[in-house]
């Protein structure tokens, strides 16, 4: 049993929308990348984990506690960034963070200041007037301020500029080192490749791939055997293209073309359109 367990989770919205018999488990200290095209069921799954929705069938547990019944207990040690961030618009950013701190029953500001500095956030304006990126930063601070052991992040870098995306990736790597369990949905391959131990790809509410990043890539290896004029050119070719010279036929070279994660994702994403 892992820290986050999703067992046969089903929610049928009709018209093949929803999630169906979803099974996965995230162990302690693992960073899990949750990927899939728009409308595949990522956010629906996350809403179940957060206890916003009740499982129609199956169950989800975090740390052995039921995500629906024991939501408040689970939330003590959980940080969450919603896919669509909606704050109390009339509040100022700083007032909002102060509100959350007190609302959560935190004794002090926790990591708030450090995080504000890290993301060069100016929280003094009204949230309503802030740009998407600014709001996202506030969402990040709100999710990490109480230094939770478990993080559920729904497209955490949407709206951030590349520099801030990098800072976010750094933050995730640090948290990973500190032993945090993280579930992160994303559309950014680089981000996922850098941070995630394992990747689950969901499509039309069903898990279509679940493995670590290397294995996923290894599964999609294409090999070519190239026959060249003579042994010498073969040797050069092998050197230039990172190939292996055939032991018997010395003028033949085998090269393997690794697909990038991006290509693999597109492969999984695209299947839907082919249907």
């Amino acid at each position: 049993m892992g820290t986050i367990d999703v067992c046969d989770l089903t929610r049928d919205y009709g018209n093949n929308k929803g999630v169906f018999h979803l099974n996965f488990s995230i162990s302690e200290g693992e960073v899990f990348g949750f990927l899939g095209p728009n409308g595949a069921g990522k956010t629906t799954t996350i809403r179940h984990l957060m206890g916003f929705l009740k499982a129609q069938q199956g169950s989800c547990t975090i740390g052995g506690l039921d995500c629906w019944k024991d939501a408040a207990q689970i939330q003590k040690n959980l940080g969450y960034i919603p896919g669509e961030i909606a704050f109390f618009d009339e509040m100022k950013g700083s007032a909002y963070l102060a509100f959350l701190q007190s609302y959560r029953g935190m004794k002090n500001a926790g990591r708030t200041k450090e995080l504000i500095d890290r993301f060069s956030l100016n929280p003094d304006g009204k949230i309503k007037k802030m740009s998407k990126g600014m709001k996202q930063k506030i969402g990040i601070v709100a999710a990490f301020m109480h230094d939770p052991a478990i993080l559920i992040l729904d497209e955490p870098t949407s709206g951030l500029d590349p520099l801030m995306q990098n800072r976010f990736v750094e933050l995730i790597m640090e948290e990973k080192k500190r032993g945090k369990t993280i579930l992160m949905s994303s559309h950014l391959f680089e981000e996922v490749e850098k941070t995630c131990d394992r990747i689950g790809i969901i499509r039309s509410g069903q898990l279509v791939a679940l493995d670590d990043a290397q294995s996923l890539c290894a599964r999609h290896v294409k090999t070519y055997t190239v026959t060249l004029e003579n042994e010498e050119t073969a040797l050069c070719f092998a050197k230039d293209f990172d190939g292996v010279q055939n032991a018997q036929q010395r003028n033949q070279v085998t090269v393997t073309a690794k697909q990038t994660l991006e290509e693999i994702f597109l492969h999984y994403y695209g299947e839907e359109q082919q249907k």
Binding site: A72, Q75, P82, E84, F87, Y103
Partner: protein, 265 residues
Amino acid sequence: MNRTLYKKEMKGSFKLLLIFAGILTMYITMIVGMYDPDLSDAIRQFEKLMPDLMAAVGMTGGNDTLGGFLSSYLYGMIMIVFPMVYSIIRANGLAAKYVDRGSMAFLLAAPVKRVTIAVTQLAALISGIVLLLIYCTVLEYTAAQIMFPGELPFAQLIRLNAGLLCLQLFIGAFCFLCSCIFNESKHSVAVSAGVTAFMYVLQMLANMGGKLENIKHATFFTLFRPEGLLLANTSAWIGAAVLFFSAVCFSVAAIVIFKRKEMQV
């Protein structure tokens, strides 16, 4: 109850409370000032000229004391409708609006039980209503004491407003129930405002008397009887008690629904 959330919501109610307090101040001072112990002729003439309309808004004199005067001219419409509008707006803002907008996610994503959230929001709504009515009571009494010293017995006013509080709690709890049932602001407002306004229209029709009087059995406003409360009639107290008890039932239902409902936030 979560104190931080309660404080935030009371702050959020403040502006609206101020506006409604302002409107009520204007009406209360005006109507108290209109009272003439010797002859409330002008209004009686209105009554003679258009009895149906005056009856519809509950303005049927008959009682010559200041209490009686206020019960017909203030508690027929003004003291009912304005706090009611406050409840409709605020109840929607305390639950349905957050779910609709998605900001409820942040309230749920914290170690605070759903029941606690619902109780806090309801407490903020009720506090607003109580504050508004306390303000009205103080204002009415002060205005009466200044303009007509000794004409308005304090006990009478307290009875009147205690009954009114039961009615307003009933309306508030009903609006909060709507706010907890619906996930969209517009549905919550449509039902809470629609039902209460329709009930009030029925009350107006019933007040016009004749055959229409039977309509009074179809509206909860009948349970609020200002004239009866002035005289401390048992039936008026029973009406208020029924309203209060129903308010408690609506509140419990609202909290249970909020606890169990699924939120797409």
